[in-house]
C-alpha cells in the first residue's frame, strides 16, 4: 500500500483530498490528512462576523463532513517533516510514512511578533479578525462602541487575503453610518505600503474610494510597537498613531512546524516551484495554498486554482511522467466595499488587476475593478460555493484555473513577460 499524506485540512488540503480520492485507486493508495483542529472555518466569513452580518453557524463546520469516504482524518499537531526519512512526526510521537507528501498548513496571524501587541489592550482595545476568536471578541467590542478613533492597521506584508483589511475599513464606514456613529468616529487606515494596495492600478482605484469614504490613510508605516499606556501605534521612524480601538492584521507566518523541519524561508513559507507547485529540491513533496512562497495572493480562490494543476502534477509524478501542468498565479478576489456593493479583482503572475468584465467579455455580468451591486452578491454567494462546490474539489462553472485575458482592458505595459522557475 502506498501512502499519500496531506498536512493541513483547511481549504487547500480538503480540496486535494477530495480530488485525489477520486483519481487514486483505493486498493493501491491510502490517503491520510492530518490537522490539529476538528473544526473547519470559512475564513472569508471572519470579515462579516464583527458586524453581526454572519453568525458562528455561517463560518464553522466539522472538518470530517467535507472529507470523502476513503480518506482517513488524523487529528493531531504535526511536529516536523523528515524529508530524508520520508516520514512525518506528530506531536504525540507517532510517525506517518509517505510516498508523496502535500504541505497545506497555510499561514496564521502571530501578534506576538509586534512588541506590545498582546499586552494589556489585547482583545480589549486591540483586536484582530483573522481568527474565529478574534472576530468574535471584536464583535463584542464594536457593540459597545460609542465613537472615537478607530484605526484599521496592517502590520506587514505579505498577509493572506491582502484586501481584507481594506474591506474591513469599508464595512466599518457603512456599519458606523447605519448605527448613527459615523460622525462621531474618525476612521484611519494605516499600512506599511506606499499606497492602499499592493498592485498599482487597483491601488489607485481603492485610494479614491478611501478618500470618498473619508477614511484617512497613513502610508509607509513600519510598526515598531504598540504602546499600551498611551494607546498608540509607534513606527520605527518614531511616528505615532493613537487609537481608541485598533483593528490590526498581525504579521502572518507559516506554521512553526515548517521551520522545525528546516523547509521554510524567513516567514516559514516553503520555497516552491511557481508553475509545478513542487517543493524546491524535494522530489516527493508538493506545496499548495498559503503555505507556498509563490508570488501571488494568499487566497482560497488561489488554492482552488492550484488544486486543478496539482492534481494533474501529482498523478504525473506518480506515473513517473514530467510535471506538465502549469499554474499561472491566477487569483480572483471579491472586495466588499460597503452599502451593498463590491469590487472584483482577477489577476495572475503576469497581469495585475485591471478593469473589464467577468467571466464573459462584454456581457460580464460581473465588473472587474469597478463597484457594483452584483459583485456584492457574488461575494455573498461565495460562502455557499465554498461549502458546497469548492471544498468538494468541483470546478466552478466558466472559471478556468488559467486566467483569461478576454474581457480585460489592459493598459500598455501592464502585461509582464512570463517569469522563469
Amino acid at each position: 500500500m502506498k501512502e499519500l499524506l496531506i498536512l493541513g485540512a483547511g481549504t487547500a488540503g480538503t480540496i486535494m483530498a477530495n480530488k485525489l480520492r477520486g483519481c487514486l485507486p483505493a486498493a493501491e493508495w491510502r490517503i491520510r490528512v492530518v490537522d490539529e483542529a476538528a473544526d473547519h472555518f470559512y475564513q472569508p466569513g471572519f470579515l462579516f462576523l464583527p458586524f453581526g452580518l454572519y453568525t458562528d453557524r455561517d463560518v464553522v463546520r466539522p472538518r470530517s463532513r467535507f472529507l470523502p469516504r476513503g480518506v482517513e482524518f488524523v487529528q493531531a499537531a504535526v511536529d516536523r517533516i523528515e524529508p530524508d526519512r520520508r516520514r512525518v512526526r506528530l506531536a504525540d510521537g507517532l510517525e506517518l510514512p509517505y510516498d508523496v507528501l502535500l504541505i497545506a498548513t497555510g499561514t496564521r496571524p502571530v501578534p506576538g511578533q509586534v512588541e506590545g501587541m498582546t499586552n494589556g489592550d489585547w482583545r480589549r482595545r486591540v483586536h484582530e479578525f483573522y481568527t474565529f476568536e478574534g472576530a468574535r471578541a471584536l464583535q463584542a467590542s464594536l457593540r459597545d462602541w460609542r465613537g472615537g478613533r478607530l484605526v484599521v492597521h496592517v502590520s506587514e506584508m505579505p498577509i493572506k487575503c491582502p484586501v481584507a483589511p481594506l474591506e474591513f475599513a469599508f464595512l466599518a464606514d457603512w456599519w458606523l453610518t447605519t448605527q448613527g456613529l459615523r460622525d462621531k468616529t474618525e476612521l484611519v487606515y494605516v499600512t506599511p505600503l506606499s499606497g492602499a494596495f499592493t498592485k498599482p492600478i487597483a491601488s489607485q482605484v481603492l485610494s479614491g474610494l478611501l478618500d470618498r469614504k473619508r477614511i484617512r490613510v497613513v502610508t509607509d508605516f513600519a510598526v515598531a510597537r504598540v504602546d499600551n499606556e498611551r494607546h498608540a501605534l509607534v513606527s520605527w521612524d518614531e511616528r505615532d498613531v493613537p487609537y481608541d480601538l485598533l483593528v490590526t492584521v498581525p504579521p502572518n507566518l507559516g506554521a512553526d512546524m515548517i521551520e522545525r523541519s528546516g523547509l521554510g524561508d524567513e516567514m516559514n513559507y516553503v520555497p516552491t516551484e511557481r508553475h509545478t507547485l513542487r517543493a524546491r529540491g524535494h522530489e516527493n513533496i508538493f506545496v499548495i495554498g498559503d503555505a507556498a512562497d509563490v508570488p501571488t495572493s494568499k487566497a482560497g480562490s488561489v488554492a482552488h486554482f492550484e488544486a486543478e494543476v496539482l492534481t494533474e502534477n501529482v498523478l504525473a509524478h506518480i506515473c513517473g511522467e514530467p510535471l506538465s501542468e502549469r499554474f499561472d498565479g491566477h487569483a480572483n478576489c471579491f472586495i466588499e466595499s460597503g452599502f451593498g456593493k463590491g469590487f472584483l479583482l482577477d489577476f495572475n503572475y503576469q497581469l495585475e488587476p485591471v478593469p473589464g468584465r467577468f467571466p464573459f467579455p462584454r456581457l460580464g455580468p460581473l465588473a472587474l475593478l469597478g463597484e457594483s451591486r452584483l459583485n456584492h452578491w457574488g461575494k455573498l454567494a461565495f460562502k455557499w460555493i465554498y461549502w458546497h462546490v469548492l471544498l468538494r474539489g468541483w470546478p466552478i462553472p466558466f472559471v478556468d484555473h488559467r486566467m483569461s485575458l478576454a474581457g480585460k482592458q489592459i493598459p500598455a505595459g501592464a502585461l509582464k513577460a512570463e517569469m522563469a522557475g
Partner: protein, 104 residues
Amino acid sequence: MAQKNIAGHTVDVDAEGYLTRPEQWNRAIAEALAQELNLQLTDAHWKVIEFLQSDYRERGTVPGMRRLNKVGGFATKDLYALFPDGPIKKAALIAGLPKPASCV
C-alpha cells in the same frame, strides 16, 4: 530612461533615482549616492549593502525586513540607526539595486 552623472560616471536611473543597470555600480558611486542622502558610509553600512547585493544575486529580489533580521542578522533598530526613515529603500538605492517591493 534617465541618466545621471555621479562620481565621474554616467549611470542609467529610474524616476526615483534607482540604478537600472547594476553592472554600472561601483563603490565610488555608492559613496556619492550616500552623500546625496546625507549619509557617510561606515563598515556597518557596507555590511548591509553587501548583504543586499549578495542576496539579490542569489534570489533576484531585494530582501525584506524579516530576511535582513533572520538571514542577515541585522536588528531592525540598528538598520534604522544606519539608514534613517527607510532603511531598505535607502540601502538598496546606494547598493545599485532596484526599488524594493517591501515598504521600508
